[in-house]
Amino acid sequence: MAYDKFTVLRSTAVPLPTENVDTDQIIPARFLKATEREGFGDNLFRDWRYDVEGNPKQDFVLNDQTYSGKILVAGKNFGSGSSREHAVWALYDYGFRCVVSSFFADIFKNNCLNIGVLPVTVSAEFADKLFAAILADPTTEIEINLPEQKIKLLSTGESESFDINEYKKDNMTNGFDDIDYLLNMSSEIDAFAKGK
């Protein structure tokens, strides 16, 4: 379905430097039983966020009032494992609109782009700078400028360019999705399918 348009996002960020965060951590399988897309945010990072009795674990960053914002700055190889799009729905439902990492798992990245959560890949050095800046000052703001493909640390002015293909960029800035595109080329697909 068409989703929010994404152009420029300026926000504080939540740091999660742990590496190899798989989608089972983002949303454990036992919470995938819904038949609708909404409400997954409550169980985002469920087993890192709550103990078995359901009490918040104080040492987990989402339970730390110091950090908040629409940007999640994550460790290397974020979103590996299961293809569950529910992981992105959970991030979105919780309030994140952008995930920054030095390395994303493939399917997760696609899933993000397909529902309008922007995955921004930065260099390992820039990721380290972001973590350091946020930890030093949680009110640090980051600006994500999609039309210019720039991520900027507002406290120091340091910035870096990021890649996104023109087609996906256009989709994100306009809130279009792939199905609109595909439905518009229905006859071409039909002609192609005849040979299959």
Binding site: M1, P17, T18, E19, N20, D22, D24, Q25, P28, A29, R30, L32, K33, A34, T35, E36, R37, D47, V52, G75, K76, N77, S80, G81, S82, S83, R84, E85, H86, V88, F103, A105, D106, I107, N110, N111, N114, I115, N165, E166, Y167, K168, D177, D178, I179, Y181, L182, L183, M185, S186, E188, I189, F192, A193, K196
Partner: protein, 468 residues
């Protein structure tokens, strides 16, 4: 003529259109769906007021959250029941073939596709499940997709994907007795890491790969995603054709001959260029087991857990966090550690050959007292064969509990959960934190290693049990 890889040949034949500075519009031959990742896709079709473009190209089965006991009764868990019922409703409404719970061909989606001969060489196959890579064993391009893409396939029979880079992993030579295809893939992932193939599509080649049965090949392709690869595939050969011949959905008569003639063309050209290549020697591979919380954290069963030497920063912190979760220390051996559960099943190792190898191993023995042993066939067909071949009797006499087909404790969506803090040695594909239940500690291994652990109650190299 340009030399191309197997992946190029199949991919290029399915590109409807290349979007300038964008992805390819990619045609999908076969689409598998299950109860967990499809309901929202159907819901969105409804919201858009559109239908399913080509229902005959989609096949459904409920597998992820179904119970593995009392499958003939109403599902107790309300949410699971709703998902399964929704799948049924959607299949009726849109005229999609459903292999329902309790029917002759019910099972894990990646087990029944090959079993029915739906999976064939040269096809493009997707499913809202990352282990769709399993089907690559037939020389197909098969990979997992998200629910938005499930919706795209239902609505248009296409998705929009950028072509992956190409990697070839060659394994030559002969494997030692007691070493299985599961050990090959755990070895490869340990070598190149859980993210080492991200952005690539992998072709597995070499004499050790060619010597494998179709089921063993499926185990390898299945775990491609565990090193980050979008998928993995193996060029089809006589083993592939023999497996498919006579299967329900395989071509018949003149169509069969025509299909085989085409399938024989499906291989990488001599001299085709891959973006990355690895070569391994099968003789170096020993029974493997994981000790951490991603599938790249694997060692020889006889090996020791790596120390933190050379690690720093968040890499070291993440590593120690993982070991803490597992209750292990850097530098210690895993062999001899006590285990609580063994699980034989999943789309990785829930096929008849897996069950045969476990049964053969445990025949005449009893499981250790500290072990709870679950065996979950990948499909009804596998279950039926296991009964007919007398394997169930052997396993039950050894103290294994046979359950009904489904994904079960691989991802513990249903009640098949490993309790917190307990160790499970599992034939499945993921050892993530909590994967087999909150707090569960999973160690991945081959069916043979699992059988050895079941008998001894401890982490054991299956070759040592053979010797006795």
């Amino acid at each position: 003529m340009e030399k191309t890889t197997l992946f190029d040949k199949i991919w290029d034949a399915h590109v409807v259109k290349s979007v300038p500075a964008g992805p390819d519009v990619f045609f999908i031959d076969k689409h598998f769906i299950h109860e967990v990742t499809s309901p929202v896709a159907f819901l969105n079709l409804e919201k858009r007021g559109i239908g399913v473009k080509n229902p005959s190209r989609t096949v459904a089965t409920p597998d992820h959250n179904v119970p593995t006991v009392d499958q003939d009764k109403t599902i107790k868990d309300k949410l699971s029941r709703m998902q399964v019922e929704r799948l049924r409703e959607n299949c009726v409404r849109y005229n999609i073939e459903l292999h329902d719970l309790g029917s002759a061909h019910h099972g894990i989606v990646h087990v029944i596709g090959p079993e029915l001969g739906i999976t064939q060489p040269g096809m493009t196959i997707v499913c809202g499940d990352s282990h769709t890579s399993t089907h690559g064993a037939f020389g197909a391009i098969a990979f997992g997709i998200g629910t938005s893409e499930v919706e795209m396939v239902l609505a248009t029979q296409c998705i929009m994907q950028s072509k992956a880079k190409k990697m070839r992993i060659t394994v030559d030579g002969v494997m030692e007795n007691g070493v299985t295809s599961k050990d090959i893939i755990l070895y490869i992932i340990a070598k190149i890491s859980a993210a080492g193939a991200t952005g690539y599509f992998v072709e597995y080649a070499g004499s050790a790969i060619q010597s494998l049965s179709m089921e063993a090949r499926m185990t390898i392709c299945n775990m491609s995603i565990e090193m980050g690869a979008r998928g993995g595939l193996i060029a089809p050969d006589e083993t592939t054709f023999n497996y498919l011949e006579g299967k329900q959905y395989a071509p018949k008569g003149a169509d069969w001959d025509k299909a085989v003639a085409y399938w024989k063309t499906l291989k990488s050209d001599e001299g085709a260029i891959f973006d990355k290549e690895y070569v391994f020697d099968a003789a170096d591979i020993e029974p493997m087991i994981t000790y951490g919380t991603n599938p790249g954290m694997g060692i020889k069963v006889k090996g020791t857990i790596p120390t933190t030497e050379g690690m720093e920063g968040s890499n070291k912190i993440s590593y120690l966090k993982s070991l803490e979760y597992m209750g292990f220390a850097p530098g210690e051996p895993v062999k001899g550690k006590l285990v609580d559960y063994v699980f034989v099943g999943s789309c990785t190792n829930g096929r008849i050959e897996d069950i045969r190898s476990v049964a053969q191993f445990v025949k005449g023995h009893k499981k250790a007292d500290n072990i709870t042993a679950w065996i979950v066939p990948g499909s009804r067909e596998v279950e039926k064969m296991a009964h007919e071949e007398g394997l169930v009797k052997i396993l039950e006499e050894a103290g294994f509990e046979l359950r009904q087909p489904g994904c079960s404790a691989c991802l513990a969506m249903n009640d098949d959960k490993i309790p917190a803090g307990k160790y499970a040695v599992s034939t499945s594909n993921r050892n993530f934190e909590g994967r087999q239940g909150p707090g569960a500690r999973t160690m991945l291994a081959s069916p043979l290693t699992v059988a050895a652990v079941a008998i001894t109650g401890r982490i054991t190299d299956p070759r040592e049990v053979f010797e006795n």
